[in-house]
Amino acid sequence: MDSKRTREPPDAWHMTDDLHVEHGKGDPFAAAIRATRMSMLITDPRKPDNPIVFVNDSFLRLTGYGREEVMGKNCRFLQGPDTNPASVAEVRAAVAEGNDVSIDILNYRKDGSSFWNALYISPVYNDKGDLLFFFASQLDVSDRKLSEQQIAADKERVEQAVKERTCELQAALETQTALLHEVDHRVKNNLQMISSLILMQSRTIQDEAVKQSLITMLERIEALSTMHRRLYQSQDVSKFDVSDFARDLVSDLLATSGRPQITSKLELEPIVVPAEKATPVALIVNELVTNALKHAFKDNGGSIGIKMTQPDGHLILEVSDDGVGMDGKATDGTFGMRLIRQLGRQLRAEVEWRNASPGTRVIVRMPNETEQKKETP
């Protein structure tokens, strides 16, 4: 039905079967059209208002009209209150331009009931290009339309449900995030307050030893502060970047140690540990570095080395100095040493002190399953 022109002389068909009348029934094509279960009609655009000049019985069965009620009428009587005006306009435009058109349109039967009509209209031209007829077929597709509408409605319902659920989850997530930020904010503020209290108390103390031990305590709390700040700066609060922490800590401790002749040498592979190990690891690093800073060097300078590697599922931390060495003096009794030992146990770490001559080297080796950071998906 794609060709606008038929190859047959159009008159041939017309001449053998004047569609207005009953003769010509012998023509097999006309007979087929009359008998088919497909509803079909023909209109004559050369007559005023493009009237129907032929309908088959199927059309009459589909629409409920009698033949005499439809012959000579324009097809618009099939339209009704809920027929989409845009569809009507589309059909009208195709007819006006002599084009074919295929459209699903809501039509009405004689009894007022409606049906979805898969309408197909094609123009019939003669060899000279004159428009002779429009040939139209109608198919009741109400069932298909209904299931389409049902599917669309179902889809919309599901989409709506998904949207609502997504909104709920989003809101829950936002609440969680807000809560996390609030708690984080309070923890940070409280850490800051604890530091402030110790710092200000220490300033009023005359006894140098007492003052020193308060300062040491302040440094431990500040190590935790630095750890906490680092932890919540990262995207993933379940992982703690030890190497970034060590870098911050060392620069912080060295910067204002008042001893510019002490330098640091950092060899830090990017390594993360699970957040629950952050506190003990941070405290151990702090103890080892402050220990070296305080005890390794007399009044002259020196170098502190910090190395972190992760060769085989173990985090290896080495803190070394080129200072006076352990000089046999047992430091086992101090609180700092106990702290390192106990935290080491918690981390299932081996802690080893070596006389490095010159200086001291402490090696902490702890199991750490997490992979090295960087582009892990």
């Binding site: 930020h181 530091s195 710092l199 200000m200 500040e222 911050d248 912080d252 910067a255």
Partner: protein, 149 residues
């Protein structure tokens, strides 16, 4: 010797303000005032004594630290450094501020930041390295630490 800074503290926690005052004075600078709310802060800014204001984002009258920074930007003086436990609250343009010191800061971290800021305010750009725990706003990063990009 670089001339010391005249500092305005805008902080609603008395304890933190006290400590900050101690540390600032220890470092040889002067604290010219302490405000707990945005109104107090704006009034103190308008006296025109301070070179630099340390502004907490959350003040006694709510999250108004950014307003204070905006007020300071319009007044043209002093310069602003935010101090907050929640740096994400700061707008992208930093309301014209130099940068942010994240809480909890350490005593040494704050001392380093003070030294850096003294150089930056008195003899920009600063000669020292940007201290850990102190982050520059995009505008000041390009002016003071262009290589750090």
């Amino acid at each position: 010797m670089i001339e010391p800074l005249k500092v305005l503290i805008v902080e609603d926690e008395a304890l933190l303000a006290m400590e900050l005052e101690c540390l600032i004075e220890d470092a040889g600078h002067h604290v010219v005032g302490w405000a707990m709310s945005s109104d107090e802060a704006k009034a103190l800014v308008d006296t025109g004594q301070a070179d630099i204001a340390f502004v907490d984002v959350h003040l006694a009258d709510g999250p108004t630290g950014v307003d204070v920074a905006e007020h300071i930007r319009q007044s043209g003086r002093p310069m602003v450094v935010f101090m907050t436990a929640n740096p994400k609250r700061i707008p992208d343009n930093f309301a014209g501020a130099i940068g942010v010191i994240s809480k909890p800061y350490t005593m040494n971290g704050l001392m380093s930041a003070l030294h850096y800021l003294q150089e930056g305010v008195r003899r920009p750009p600063p000669a020292s390295v940007l201290p850990a725990g102190f982050a520059l706003s995009p505008a000041f990063a390009s002016a003071w630490a262009p290589s750090a990009g």
